[in-house]
């Protein structure tokens, strides 16, 4: 797992090289940050000023752009929809992936390897291939334009990666622990619930983070499934808003800033866990 704050010994370095290193890093950091900063600052300008002065700070800081949007209900309702979809996707993914991973890691049953490989196959499949038949299926199930029409396929598509990660972590728990619990008369369900799960909270939170971020940012599936504005998740709401206001960039920039804020704040608050979570699949895979 990548740890963003890992301690490393500091060696003695040539000061000129340190300076060159710093300059390169600052240059790249500027390239990364300038689009984000111009977006946030641009939201505070009037359309006229944005056109003539896109770089600099605004002459008049139009905080009202932000307040207008924050006091309306539109923003909150689409963020609420995204939160609802994300929470249920995380809950169901954990509820379905964790028991399956326990079975793959510690139980022996017919076709174990085959079923595991079958699930893992899903990691290389492009989701877009399934999207058209999935749309027809969701329509026939009567789930079109509902949040459950997004949650269920999202859970299904996240299973492969989640099961792979959790199974590998569960395997680290020694078989002897399972064996002695069996000898003490505990059933498999009890072992899973009282021993395996409490020992696996780090990997379960990692899976929860990956699943939530993927759901929060998902666009293609909600785009195909949802068609009334009050059900939209925030990426759909953002695109609709952009379509509605066309070239009124300050309005759109305000909307972008406010909708990416939850992700940015969550990242700043828990960057260590988020980086570890999002790169975990790669290192453990």
């Amino acid at each position: 797992m990548t740890d963003i704050t890992e301690q490393r010994p500091t060696g003695l370095k040539d000061p000129n090289k340190s300076l060159a290193r710093m300059l390169v890093l600052i240059l790249v950091a500027c390239i990364v940050l300038v689009p984000l900063i111009t977006t946030m600052v641009g939201a505070l300008k009037s359309p006229g000023e944005l056109r003539t002065n896109p770089f600099g700070f605004p002459e008049q800081w139009l905080w009202s752009n932000y307040w207008d949007m924050l006091s309306g209900s539109r923003l909150w309702s689409i963020l609420g929809n995204s939160l609802y979809v994300g929470m249920w996707t995380v809950a169901l993914t954990l509820a379905i992936a964790a028991p399956a991973s326990f079975a793959f890691a510690h139980l022996k049953f017919f076709g174990e390897q085959m079923l595991f490989n079958y699930l893992i196959l899903g990691l290389t499949f492009p989701f877009a291939t399934a999207i058209l038949p999935l749309f027809l299926m969701i329509r026939d199930l009567g789930l079109l334009d509902t949040h459950w029409g997004i949650i269920l396929p999202q859970v299904a598509f996240g299973l492969a990666g989640s099961v792979l990660l959790t199974r590998n972590a569960f395997k680290q728990i020694p078989d002897e622990i399972v064996e002695s619990a069996l000898i003490d008369g505990a059933g498999y369900g009890r072992i899973f619930w009282s021993i395996i799960l409490p020992l696996s909270l780090p990997i379960l939170s990692t899976v929860a983070i990956i699943t939530f971020v993927t759901s929060w940012n998902n666009y293609l599936l909600p785009l195909v499934v949802l068609n009334t504005a009050e059900n939209y998740t925030w990426p759909l709401g953002l695109m609709e808003y952009q379509g509605q206001y066309g070239n009124d960039w300050p309005k759109i920039l305000t909307y972008i800033t406010l909708t990416i804020m939850p992700a940015v704040l969550a990242f700043l608050a828990a960057q260590k866990y988020i980086v570890a979570g999002l790169t975990a699949g790669a290192v453990k895979g």
Partner: protein, 303 residues
């Protein structure tokens, strides 16, 4: 006695089936959901791809068109351009994004002044949704309001309307992709570098290796497995890019900036041409699976 007896019994059962009844209950929901929402639709896509069908009712036998949809796809100029764009994405990932990520990782692998701040800044774009990142870059490249155009004018040049340029609009997508994803690959490389045995560096220094030699002969071989994995992610990600294209160019101008998935969306789903869209999906599926399996077989065979 009772303990050792049940232990013997347990050891015997371990070789055969152990807790298989529990396993059935624990595994079935995962297998069922995965089959219903992923595998079944992919099989259906293969089925629909040989019909000319608009998705209403059932595909009737007289709508059977054989390989017609695939032939139309192969002749389609927009799809050819989209495929070409996916190849450009792969090239940008390998020849621009990978070197930048590697260089930044080399500068940030050891903890020194400001290291953590820079790692966070470089990783930040990765956590943004593609939709938001795409819109931000649409603003940056906007000919009237955007940064690029104003910078050009400030230096005495003309306003630049890159997103309206028939030949080069896709460059905007490439820039946005590198901007958004290099930090993720950088974090992978940092993790790989931290796993390299420190004594190798000491031994190399004693043998008189300079910084470049240490990078070339210790770091690079040490993180090769990580690089192969990061290339694997880049390949599959580049073949499936969609979210970033929609807000940035929407496939415009003149359908020059589609990717295979945005082509599938606009020309298959958007127009409810189920058969043609399914054929596009099947083509995408075959390309992804062939790339993934041959890469795993030939390149990642030792990992």
């Amino acid at each position: 006695m009772a303990t050792s007896a049940s232990k013997l019994q347990y050891v015997a059962s371990k070789r055969q089936m152990r807790g298989w009844k529990t396993a059935i209950i624990f595994v079935s929901p995962a297998i069922a959901l995965f089959t219903l929402f992923i595998i079944l639709p992919i099989i259906e896509a293969a089925g629909y791809s040989v019909f000319n069908w608009n998705g209403l009712g059932l595909p009737s036998p007289d709508r059977f068109v054989g390989t017609d949809n695939f032939e139309r796809l192969a002749r389609n100029k927009v799809f050819a351009r989209a495929f070409n764009n996916n190849m450009l994405l792969i090239a940008a990932s390998l020849f621009v994004q990978l070197p930048i990520a590697l260089a930044m990782a080399a500068l940030l692998a050891e903890r020194r002044l400001g290291t953590i701040t820079f790692r966070m800044i470089f990783f930040l774009p990765f956590i943004l949704a593609d939709i938001a990142a795409g819109l931000i870059w649409r603003f940056i490249f906007d000919g009237n309001n955007g940064l690029v155009s104003h910078a050009s004018q400030a230096m005495g040049g003309d306003a630049i309307f890159l997103l309206a340029d028939r030949e080069y609009a896709f460059v905007a997508v490439l820039v946005a992709v590198v901007w958004k994803y290099f930090g993720f690959h950088m974090m992978l490389y940092i993790a790989g570098m931290q796993a390299i045995d420190k004594s190798l560096y000491e031994a190399a220094s004693i043998d008189g290796a300079n910084a470049w030699h240490r990078f070339r002969y210790v770091t690079l071989p040490g993180i090769m497995p990580t690089i192969r994995l990061s290339v694997f992610f880049s390949l599959l990600g580049a073949l499936q890019l969609f979210d970033l294209v929609v807000p940035l160019t929407g496939g415009n101008p003149l359908n020059k900036t589609h990717t295979m998935v945005s082509f599938l969306y606009y020309f298959g789903i958007g127009r409810m041409k189920v058969g043609f869209g399914a054929a596009t999906g099947v083509a995408l599926f075959i390309i992804c699976v062939v790339v993934a399996f041959s890469y795993k077989k030939w390149v990642m065979k030792d990992d």
